[in-house]
């Protein structure tokens, strides 16, 4: 007894092109959406939070000074690695080493060999020693505004700066000129003018976005960094193990080393592209699994409510209204009915008959039974619970075999 239906075939509807033509907005909007997403993906750059980085717009970044320098016509370029510096002409370039406190010995050697001007911001002690500055950097807690107190033109132009975070001292052996000296003889800024000019900014917060607009900070920073038309900015990175590159740096070959060679990696070459293609495969697998084999089927569900729901609702109403009297009355009537049925007392029997029968069955005082069944209505939850407890006990006694 099977009921077969007719043959069914897909309707001969309009094709994809015809549908696109009838609703041109859909393909156009989806194409725009794809372009929009692609643009977002391609142009987005992760936010830079490195201290003293020229892309960092936070308080400890140096974006402000970099922008001013660019506006003044200086070609400011930040390099993530030493090898990426690739300085074409050291004589027309200022190399900024910011926060370079953790350089390896060979990196320091390469910096010492560099012939062009160097600006050190928050330098490490090793670097100061290798460049033969004779300076020592010490932390300070006093933020005092000091006047130039030296012969350097940049410092004089700045007139006064604050000594913040770190101060420099010593430097006589290297011929360093200390500026903005405080009472202890330590200064915020020092400069060694020789074959190449090495300027050292000890009080590095001077150059940050936060403090650049105070005192003569801007003047000092801009004059210190704006001497040449090119500025290469490097922020110290403990994971960078490459060495500084400039035209003619490697003795045997003229060409600077490429980035790949300067980035020795512990993973075998090609790992990144393999991982990349596997990630794309995951996306393709998602397309494979995401296509449903036919739509989800709807199940018409009937309305079903628990039959006891109304009783539970009534219980909540009793509770909220604290209707302990009413609740006790229901329990008493029910118990009396049950016991009466058990003892064969007719429904129509009066109070005395029921109480008498129950008292005989339970071997209790009729007054006691009368109080339990017909006593005063309880007024509190505790009294209600006591009443119900007494009813239960009485019923157990009556139903005792």
């Amino acid at each position: 007894m099977t009921a077969a239906t007719d043959l069914h075939r897909a309707p001969d509807g309009p094709g994809v092109l015809a549908r696109a033509r009838s609703r041109p907005l859909v393909p156009i909007l989806s194409a725009l959406f794809v372009i929009f997403i692609a643009t977002l993906v391609l142009t987005s750059r992760p936010e830079d939070t490195t201290t003293l980085s020229i892309d960092n717009s936070a308080e400890d970044g140096t974006r402000a000074v970099a922008q001013i320098l660019r506006a003044q016509g200086v070609d400011v370029r930040q390099t993530p690695t030493m090898a990426g510096a690739r300085i074409d002409d050291p004589s027309r370039t200022t190399l900024v080493l910011a926060d370079a406190g953790e350089l390896m010995d060979y990196q320091i050697d390469a910096v010492a060999d560099y012939p062009g001007d160097i600006a050190l911001i928050r330098p490490g002690q090793d670097l100061l020693a290798a460049l033969e500055t004779g300076l020592t950097a010490d932390p300070t807690l006093d933020a005092e505004v000091q006047s130039a107190q030296c012969a350097d033109a940049d410092a004089i132009a700045a007139e006064s700066v604050a000594t913040l975070d770190t101060v420099l001292s010593g430097g006589d052996s290297g011929g360093a000129e200390l500026c903005f000296v405080n009472a202890d003889g330590a200064g915020a800024y020092a400069v060694i003018d020789g074959e190449r000019r090495v300027s050292v900014l000890g009080s590095w917060p001077i150059i940050t976005n936060d403090h650049l607009d105070e005192h003569g900070h801007a003047a000092l920073s801009l004059r210190m960094l704006g001497r040449h038309e090119t500025l290469v900015w490097y922020v110290g990175d403990p994971y960078d193990v490459s060495t500084l590159t400039w035209e003619g740096s490697s003795g045997d070959g003229k060409a600077p080393p490429t980035e790949v060679e300067a980035n020795p990696d512990f993973l075998p070459p090609g790992t990144i592209p393999v991982l990349f293609i596997l990630a794309l495969t995951v996306a393709v697998a998602a397309m494979w699994r995401a296509r449903r084999f036919g739509r989800l089927v709807r199940e018409p569900l009937p309305v079903e409510v628990r039959a006891s729901e109304s009783t539970r609702g009534r219980a909540r109403l009793y509770r909220r209204a604290r209707a302990s009297g009413r609740a006790a009355a229901a329990m008493r009537a029910r118990a009396a009915l049950r016991m009466g049925r058990r003892l064969g007392v007719p429904r129509s029997a009066d109070r005395a008959a029921i109480v008498g029968a129950i008292a005989r069955a339970a071997e209790r005082d009729p007054r006691d039974v009368d109080r339990i069944l017909y006593g005063a209505a309880p007024t509190t939850d505790a009294q209600l619970m006591t009443t119900i407890d007494e009813l239960d006990t009485l019923e157990r006694e009556v139903h005792r075999p």
Partner: protein, 430 residues
């Protein structure tokens, strides 16, 4: 269009050359190339119009029993077809493995069986048939869903039929067919026969004995050809869930068992499902066609969220029954039933017929009434007691009107109603 796992594999295989090339662009090119190849494959796949489907479902199946629905797929195109097909039914049809591989030559037909174990009573409908046609490279293909309506009627489970043999045995005892040391317990005079040792001496017919030279006893049998009318209340209270199923399921089980029993006992049964209008009816058939007709009629009965129209029920019963009959009302005794006119209807029916009002007890009420954990449970117990009292008083008023009241837990309702019927039959009150 859809892509297959082979496309994914092809994309993953790009990892091998990517390890040698070291270029990220290569990865993009490889994966986009794989996708483009898949797109080309989908274009080359046979069109969805090259297949046609035909569905077939068994006419009906009993709930919880297994059956199979079939799907025929015909290749109408000129090319060989590889692919898959999904024979989708609504979830309660219980078709778990509804996906099949397709391999069809030109002009060939495939019959695919999908086993089904329905989990809900009523008419279950088939959804779309989805066809996937693979391209020549097996990388991708075209997908289309086709309308092919079909319906599977799922009959009530009739789980209570396990109670039927014992009730039939009891019926035969009443009938006097079984050798028991009792007279046939019916009330209708059957015949006179010779006394044998063991017969009840009270059944000796002294007049007949006087006429003949031997002792003669009267034999009785239960009345036959009585009318039984079962009214199944499908109004809002029948939708309430008791235990795991709505009340109406217990009522349907009771209807089926009582009908099976009464038909075997030689009575004529008619059934109506009613709330404000008649939702289903089964009447007028006799013999082996009664049960299939009834199951079919009750298969699609669902509770309606309306108040029952009791005066209309009374009028319907008066119009359907010309002679005295047993009327079984499968409903809910509830305080609201009084306002709805149940009592008036029972009074009107009981004036002419024997009435049994059967109702499903809620085991949760007893649980609530026994709760003594905290103050809230005490109030819940009181509320349950109040509900029980109300039901009790309505039951008492129904009894005062001359009707019988039967209450039982959902699983017990059918045997309890059947027992009540047998008791009435034995005492000759039909």
């Amino acid at each position: 269009m859809y892509i297959t796992g082979w496309t994914v594999l092809l994309a993953a295989l790009g990892a091998v050359p990517a390890a040698l090339v070291h270029e990220r662009t290569f990865a993009w090119l490889w994966v986009l190339g794989a996708l483009a190849l898949a797109g080309l494959d989908a274009l080359l796949a046979p069109g969805p119009r090259s297949v046609a489907v035909r569905r077939a479902a068994p006419g009906s199946v009993r709930l919880t029993e297994s059956t199979a629905v079939t799907l025929e797929v015909v290749n109408l195109g000129r090319r060989r077809i590889h692919g898959a097909v999904r024979d989708a039914w609504q979830p309660s049809a219980g078709t778990r493995s509804d996906r099949h591989r397709l391999r069809l030559g030109r002009g060939e037909t495939m019959r695919l069986r999908t086993p089904a174990t329905p989990t809900r009573r009523g008419d279950l409908h088939a959804d779309l048939v989805t066809v996937r046609l693979e391209g020549p490279m097996r990388l991708a293909g075209r997908q289309r869903s086709l309308e092919a309506p079909a319906t599977l009627r799922v009959l009530p489970e009739f789980a209570s039929r396990k109670h039927l043999p014992s009730r039939l045995a009891r019926l035969r005892e009443i009938d006097g067919q079984t050798a028991v040391q009792l007279k046939g317990a019916g009330s209708e005079f059957d015949s006179l026969r010779e006394y044998v040792i063991g017969d009840d001496v009270r059944s000796i017919d002294w007049r007949a004995t006087a006429r003949r030279a031997e002792v003669v006893v009267k034999t009785y049998r239960p009345e036959r050809d009585r009318r039984v009318m079962i009214v199944l209340d499908t109004s809002r209270l029948s939708a309430a869930r008791v235990g795991n199923a709505p009340r109406i399921d217990a009522s349907i089980e009771a209807t089926l068992l009582l009908t099976a029993l009464a038909t075997k006992a030689g009575d004529r049964v008619q059934v109506t499902a009613f709330d404000r209008v008649e939702r289903a009816r089964a009447m007028g058939s006799t013999g082996p066609t009664v049960m299939p007709q009834l199951a079919d009629a009750l298969a699609t009965v669902t509770p309606a969220l309306v108040e029952p129209d009791w005066p209309a029920v009374a009028r319907l019963i008066q119009s359907r029954l010309s002679q005295r009959a047993l009327v079984v009302l499968l409903t809910t005794i509830d305080a609201s039933a009084v306002d709805g006119g149940l009592l008036d209807a029972v009074a009107a029916i009981a004036a002419k017929h024997a009435v049994v009002v059967a109702t499903v007890d809620d085991p949760e009420l007893a649980e609530l009434e026994a709760g003594r954990e905290d103050a809230h449970e005490h109030y819940a117990a009181a509320a349950a007691a109040r509900t029980a009292l109300e039901q009790d008083s309505v039951g008492a008023r129904v009894r005062e009107l001359g009707a019988d009241v039967v209450t039982a837990l959902p699983d017990d309702l059918a045997p309890v109603v059947a027992d009540r019927y047998l008791a009435l039959k034995a005492s000759g009150r039909l």
